[in-house]
Each structure stands twice: as structure tokens, then as C-alpha cells.
Amino acid sequence: MPCHHLGLTDASVLHTRHLLLTDQAVGDLVESEAMGAVVGPAGLGKTFAIARAVEARSEPVVSLTFEGRPTMRLVADRLLHAFTGSPARGTRFAMTDELLNRLAERRRLIVVGEAQNLTRDCFEYLRHLHDDPATRFALVFDGGDGCWEVLARELMLRSRIYRRVAFSALTDADVLKLIPAYHPIYANADPELLVLINDEAAHGRLRSWAAFTHTAAAICEHAGTAGINAKIARGTITQLGATP
């Protein structure tokens, strides 16, 4: 199982609609060797959901994350490095050639994190690798704000997206349904308190829920109490510096 944010212990996986959709989408993409996108604002659990879905697969997985604005050469270089374990050498066409050969060897899954950082050329380059009739890989773009806008703007990219999962923040109803099972400190929590935490600290974001829980659990342990109460919740919100 992938690690929760901040290494939160004793937390269970929240089977949100998006998590289940991501599971299904990754499976479909791998089976069809197709391209897909898991998009949505930061902290909603996209990367966690993908990591969990990938765990269930037996195919080799290459995960890449690009900071800043990568060039096509950097994309090729990082991909090759992931396959060979050593820095890529040779001309760009030789690198592309080797990549095409490697990607034709067997079915794989490539996950590109922070895909919103990719330029149009980089998307185009990945599409070039994917469109080659010999290559066999599924490609998942894991992207935050702006990722889908870039993909959707170019119909040549948009039309190739076989599965799309658009993450959104947990609603109050989601919180009430799922959070009591998330961590032991919420097992008997007052529903109004959970809604308050969501409103003031988590804002429907799973990453924020993990951060809150990590801090609250420590306070609970220090206070010798098993469950969260309003006082601990307020103290945690203060510690996190969360604002409504």
C-alpha cells in the first residue's frame, strides 16, 4: 500500500469515488495500452490513488515527475535513464530510437507526475512515442491545475485520452461517510466536529486531512485520549495555522 502523507500511521485507505475510478481507469489503460489523465487540484489524492492502482498491476511501471518546464530532450533522457539506470548518451534521434525499441519490448505503464509542467512539445513527443505501432505502453498523466487545459486545448491530444478521472474535493457528505473509518481517532467523533475540521482545516483535500490527522493523533496520544474532541481539534487547527 502506498504511504500516506507525512507517513501517517494507522490510517486506512478511503475508498472514495475517485479512488475507485482511478483503479478502474489504470486497469483499462494498461489493458488497452492507451493514454489517460488523472487530473484535479493538488492534495486530492490523485498520486496516492494512482500509486495504489499501479500496485495491483504486474506490468513494469515507470514513474517520472518533471519540475519546471522540461524540454523534449529531458523527457527522453529521464525515460531512458529509468530504463537503463544510466544517463542517456548519443544524439537525440538515437535516444528516441532506443526509447522506441525499449517501449516495444513489453507492455508497460508510464506515469508522468506533475504533468501540468509539460510543454505542448513534450506532450507531443510522448504522443509520438505512444503512436508508434511497435510500442506497447499505457501512459497516465497525473496532473494538477492546468494539466487538463493543455490536453484539452489540443484535440490531437484530447482525442487520445481514453480514460479521464477528474478529482474534486470531498463534500461534507463524503466526509461524514468516509472519515470515521479513516483513522481510529475519528471512530466515535461528533459529525459536526468532522464538518468543522473539513471546513476550517482540510477543505475536502485528503492531503490536508492526513496532515490534520497526523498532528491530532499525536496530541491525542500526548493527552492519553483515544478519540478526537473539539478541544484537540481547535488545538490542531491552531498548530497547522489553518485558515477557514
Binding site: 523534449m72 530532450r73 527522453a76 548519443g90 544524439t91 537525440r92 534521434f93 538515437a94 528516441t96 530510437d97 532506443e98 522506441l100 525499441n101 512539445d121 507531443e124 513527443y125 504522443r127 509520438h128 503512436d131 508508434d132 505501432p133 484535440l155 490531437m156 482525442s159 487520445r160
Partner: protein
């Protein structure tokens, strides 16, 4: 020649078009589909896109940079008649022009798939706008490559020591020149092999001659056989019987075919093909002549259709083609026969013939010749290969001409000189 250029404007690089074009290429061997990656701005990258589509691999490219002549050579060798360029919008003006020149030169039907016709409007001026469906439905003939190997002329089954002369008299200039080149090249190859091996074993000689005389055509085989006989005698060796100790031509597996097709360098690819098919050791592969490795076959045996492009690019020189040409080792009359080879001369006949073929100044008194050898030599006299006057044997001009003696190297002037001399006689 001027190529036809069609343009398909596919605004969204529709995947159906991509798939359809690849299916088209899979169904028709004369159609090649290449995809231009967004980073393929340079000529080598575009050339490589073509070569890759033809099965070439960068790990078989060595340190070479692929060039347009490479693309041209292999497109022709693979009998490609239509080139479909997907994502042609990524071509620079320079590479677009080079591609058009390539297509013009080879009368190649070029189909460019672009996603924005307006962007490329200027350079596509004059091209036909068409659709993917029209390209799919285009009528195509099954292209059989024209056999580039002309038939061998029928040559007289003369004695080796007068074959050249008899061909000069019997054949038209063009076929004669072809025979002459093969005879000379094979003779030189055999001599080079004898020079390089001071003490060859009899099986080694027979195997080498087995390669040198292998041919897919009886006339070609006769010329090659005569050439090795001349070389043997010039080295004072009894005419060894060439034996084919090569294993039967092997069938190539898919990996082998891929390996052969992966090479961009024509010689390396052809050498790999010959190696895989014949199983010959490197030294014997060095002896394979251009006329022995053609699309028709290697050393007389047929080669798989899928590997023929590797043989088509070699051209048809008659000398060894599977290695870098090395300076011919010119045999100095004073240096031969070498000590090791002298030791091998146990038979008087080749010893005497080799001595006489060194020039008219060399002669042998018949009284000094053992009876058994003299009988064989008198047979050559009857064929006007040797002359006997007052009990002295000499090589005739016919023999010296036929064995490329010092005055009779291949050239039009020596041919004319020989014709006149014998006409007068």
C-alpha cells in the same frame, strides 16, 4: 524525374489516419510510413526516421551520421515507391526540400500528412490536396524489383589458359568486358589468397577455391573456375579441385533477418547476411565477390526475399566486396614462387606452366621434361596455349593474354592489339 506530392490535412492527427497508414504499409511492401517527431528538426533525424522505418537500428550504425544518400540507397534497395510522412508539419523548410529532392530523384510518390495546411501552405504550393481514404484506395501494382543482375554471356568452354582469348574472339565488346573483369578479379583474388598463405593445407586451398568458384550460373562458374586454375598454375601449384565444404545455405530466423536489415552500412549488412546464410569463417567471407552476392543469391544459393535489399545495395564489382578494399598485392616475379610454395611443387606440370606463364623469355627444353608432364604439355601445344620450336617450349601470346601476363593487362588497347596480332596470323 519529378515526384508526385500529395498532401493530407489532418487537423487533429487522427489516430485512425495513423493506424490506417501503418496498415497500408504492412499490406504493401512498396509503401513506407515514417513519422516525424517534434524534435526531429535536423536532416540526420529525418533520415533516421526513414531508415528506422526500414528496419535499421542505431546500435548497428556505429559512429556514422545518417545522410540523405543512405536514405536514397535503402529506399531504392527496398523498392519503396510511396513514402507517407506523418506529422510532416514538424519538417523544417530545409528537410522538406531535401525530402522533395529525394522523391524527385527516385520518382517517389510522396504523401505528406500535416495538421495545418495553412501553416504549410507556401511550401506545399502545387501539391495535390487529398484524403487518407484516397491514399488507401489508390491502385497499386505488386512491384517486383527489376532484376539488376544481367544474364551472364555464354562463354566457350575453353581451356583456362585460352578462355580470355576465345572470349575476345567470340563475344561482343560489352559481354567480353564483363567476362574479362570477372576473370581478372577472380584471378587476383585467388593470387592474393595464395600470397597471403605461405603454407596452406590442401583442405584450406580447396575450401578457398570452393568459395572463389561458387556461382549461380554455369558460365559464371566456368569463368571463375578458369581464373582459379590460372592463379594456381602461376603459383606453381597443381590445379586443386575446389570443393564446396560450406554447409548448405541455412534458413534465416526472424532475429537473423532483423539483424541483417538493421545495418545501415551496405557492406556490413551484406557480410552479416552471407555469414548467417553460409556459416563461412571470416577469412573465406573476405573472398566473396560482388557477382556472388546478389539479390539472386549468395554463392549460388538463393537468399530470402526479406533480406534481398541488403544484397541490392552492393553493386556488382567482381572482386571481394565484403570487406574494405585493400591495396592489391602485386606479385613481383622475383618474389615468387616463395620458399614455402616451392616446397609444395612436387608436380612438374604446374611448375613448368607457372614458369612459362611468367613471360616469353622463359622457356623449357623438352628433353628435360618428365614423360608424364610432357604428354600434358603437348596437349596445351595442340590448343595453341604453348608453342614448341626446336625442342623448346614457350607460352604463346594467346596464353599470356589469357592469363593477364605483364603485357596483357585488361584494357581496350591490349584487346585490339591481340585481335590484330591473331587476325594477321
Amino acid at each position: 524525374m519529378s515526384a508526385t506530392i500529395d498532401v493530407i490535412v489532418d487537423r487533429h492527427d487522427d489516430f485512425a489516419t495513423v493506424r490506417g497508414m501503418h496498415r497500408l504499409a504492412a499490406a504493401h511492401a512498396t509503401v513506407l510510413v515514417v513519422t516525424i517527431a517534434p524534435d526531429q528538426r535536423t536532416a540526420p533525424a529525418v533520415v533516421w526516421a526513414i531508415l528506422r522505418a526500414l528496419g535499421k537500428r542505431t546500435d548497428r550504425l556505429g559512429s556514422r551520421t545518417p545522410t540523405w544518400p543512405d536514405a536514397k540507397r535503402w529506399l531504392v534497395a527496398n523498392c519503396i515507391r510511396e513514402l507517407v510522412v506523418l506529422r510532416a508539419q514538424h519538417l523544417t523548410d530545409e528537410t522538406f526540400d531535401a525530402l522533395r529532392t529525394l522523391a524527385d530523384g527516385d520518382d517517389l510518390h510522396l504523401t505528406l500528412v500535416v495538421n495545418d495546411g495553412r501553416h504549410d501552405a507556401a511550401r506545399l504550393l502545387g501539391s495535390e490536396i487529398t484524403t487518407a481514404e484516397a491514399v488507401f484506395d489508390r491502385s497499386r501494382r505488386v512491384a517486383r524489383p527489376a532484376n539488376a543482375t544481367p544474364r551472364w554471356p555464354a562463354v566457350p568452354r575453353s581451356h583456362a589458359l585460352r578462355l580470355r582469348f576465345d572470349c575476345l574472339r567470340a563475344l561482343e565488346p560489352a559481354p567480353f568486358q564483363r567476362v574479362d573483369q570477372l576473370l581478372n578479379a577472380t584471378c587476383r583474388s585467388a593470387e592474393a589468397w595464395f600470397s597471403a598463405h605461405a603454407r596452406p593445407t590442401q583442405p584450406a586451398i580447396e575450401r578457398a577455391l570452393g568459395v572463389l568458384t561458387a556461382a549461380s550460373n554455369p558460365d559464371q562458374a566456368h569463368i571463375r573456375r578458369c581464373a582459379t586454375q590460372i592463379a594456381s598454375w602461376r603459383f606453381g601449384l597443381a590445379d586443386p579441385e575446389p570443393i564446396s565444404t560450406m554447409p548448405p545455405t541455412k534458413s534465416l530466423k526472424v532475429d537473423g533477418i532483423r539483424d541483417v536489415r538493421a545495418h545501415t552500412d551496405a557492406v556490413t549488412g551484406a557480410r552479416r547476411l552471407a555469414e548467417l546464410l553460409t556459416g563461412l569463417e571470416p577469412e573465406l567471407l573476405d573472398l566473396v565477390g560482388g557477382d556472388q552476392l546478389t539479390e539472386a543469391g549468395v554463392l549460388g544459393d538463393e537468399i530470402p526475399e526479406s533480406t534481398r535489399p541488403a544484397a541490392r545495395t552492393l553493386g556488382q564489382p567482381h572482386g571481394p566486396v565484403l570487406r574494405r578494399p585493400r591495396p592489391a598485392r602485386r606479385r613481383q616475379s622475383s618474389a615468387t614462387p616463395e620458399a614455402g610454395q616451392r616446397a609444395r611443387r612436387t608436380d612438374a606440370f604446374p611448375l613448368i606452366v607457372g614458369h612459362l606463364l611468367e613471360g616469353r623469355a622463359n622457356c623449357v627444353n623438352t628433353d628435360e621434361i618428365p614423360d608424364r608432364a610432357l604428354t600434358a604439355l603437348e596437349d596445351l601445344v595442340a590448343q595453341r596455349i604453348l608453342e614448341i620450336r626446336r625442342g623448346v617450349l614457350r607460352a604463346s601470346h594467346v596464353a599470356l593474354y589469357s592469363t593477364f601476363g605483364s603485357r596483357w593487362t585488361p584494357s581496350l588497347s591490349t584487346d585490339i592489339q591481340m585481335s590484330r596480332a591473331t587476325d594477321t596470323a
